[in-house]
Amino acid sequence: MTGFAKLDQTLRAYYGRHSTFVDMAGKFILAMISFFWIRSVLNYQPVFSNPVLLLLLALLATVFPSTMIPVFSCILVVGQASAVGIDAAVVAAVFMLVLVILFLRFVAEDAVAFSLVPVAIFFGFSALVPLFCGLKRKLSSVLAVACGTVLYYFMAALSREGSAIQQLPLSSFDKRLSLLIGGTFTSTCFINVIAMIAVVVVVHAIRALGISHGHLVAVPVGGIVYLMFIVLGNAVLGTSFAIPTVLIGTVASCIAVYLLILIMLPLDYAKTERLEFEDDDYYYYVKAVPKVAVTQRASKGGESEEEPVEKPDLTDVDFEKKLEDSLRNL
């Protein structure tokens, strides 16, 4: 673990100094993955499949907050659906609006998960995003994960039934709608949504127990829960998940989550802060660069081990009492 701890310290120090550029690069990469994946799945509308447009949108997403990535993704999906038919575009727009209004507005901070879940499911890493959200995000992220799953099945239905919908006349829009909506809300979608929700809840519950190395236990348990629901779905609802593929994907997701936690996790890293304020005498331009604190303890073998200092949990601290005590001492 010493090597991982040193690497973690190096990454924290690097991120602390260059957080602005790292954040922008991260957003750009996420946006590119999301937008080009939509293009690969729904290649109906040449305008919205143009790589230059997608690159421009990704650059815009870099500058704006990360909540704009799912907004641009929704615009691209609606744009692609417009090539299938005006009714398909309306259904796509209504679908996105309903998801945002009823669910996503409560979890705006997890909006990126909404964009990433469909990509992960497409590449077979279905359990990746729910495992990660259960470990690192609040329990409310379950809404973003569930909505992202439904979005995947909507896009799959649009991709699968797009040609059939285009062949039907516009006057039989109820048949066209049935193909699209019926193709989305299948038993496969239902089981996958339930499985994703269960993974987030179980992993979050294990993490909340506060046991040491809880994440090492939570990740495989979450993977097993996901597999259980998939197997149950095949047995009870007659869904046709390919169990070997799902098994490999779940194991790969667990390994990927471990790697993210151990090595590449800048999400709770402290950033360089740039502040401007004034008092009666001076204007202050302050750049606060975080220190990387390392505690050392001697192991039984005589070599010292480095252990990163964890942030204390301040949720139960009574700040008012502490600061009033300090005021009295002043």
Binding site: L97, R105, F106, D174, L275, D279, V286, E324, L330
Partner: protein, 142 residues
């Protein structure tokens, strides 16, 4: 320039920069007003979403609806749709109430700590101004 004051001011400025959009903005409202605004937003958004979904379901089953329109009792259908709307609205209003109440209480706790720190800084600055006045012989206005 007083370094001790600066050490107190930097965390306060950092808090204002990070939390300005969240806790400080929330605490500008009274608790009841903040919750009322959130409930009002939920009312309008849920109504819009309900109408959209209803429109989509109706459009998807338009042939069946047109074929069976004579057999519908409009009062019964209207009551079912209204009851469904009230149930959906009630669920979302309750969720919004719980979430906004928790958010307000968390914001209030966070801002209280900030305000106490601010008062502490103010006292420190008044004290150091008083000491400077003693040294320069300047009388302070009371």
């Amino acid at each position: 320039m007083n370094e001790i004051h600066l050490r107190e001011m930097v965390p306060l400025a950092m808090y204002e920069t990070k939390e300005d959009k969240k806790a400080l903005r929330i605490c500008k409202y009274y608790k009841s007003d903040y919750i009322a605004v959130q409930l009002l937003k939920t009312f309008f958004l849920t109504t819009i979403a309900y109408l959209l979904v209803l429109g989509l379901v109706a459009a998807g089953n338009i042939d069946w609806l047109l074929d069976n329109i004579d057999s519908f009792d409009p009062m019964k259908l209207g009551s079912i749709l209204l009851i469904l709307y009230i149930v959906v609205l009630a669920i979302y209003m309750i969720i919004t109430f719980v979430i906004s109440k928790r958010r307000y209480e968390a914001a209030k706790k966070s801002v209280r700590a900030y305000e106490i720190q601010l008062r502490r800084l103010e006292k420190m600055m008044k004290r150091s101004d008083g000491e400077t006045d003693k040294q320069t012989g300047r009388r302070s206005r009371r």
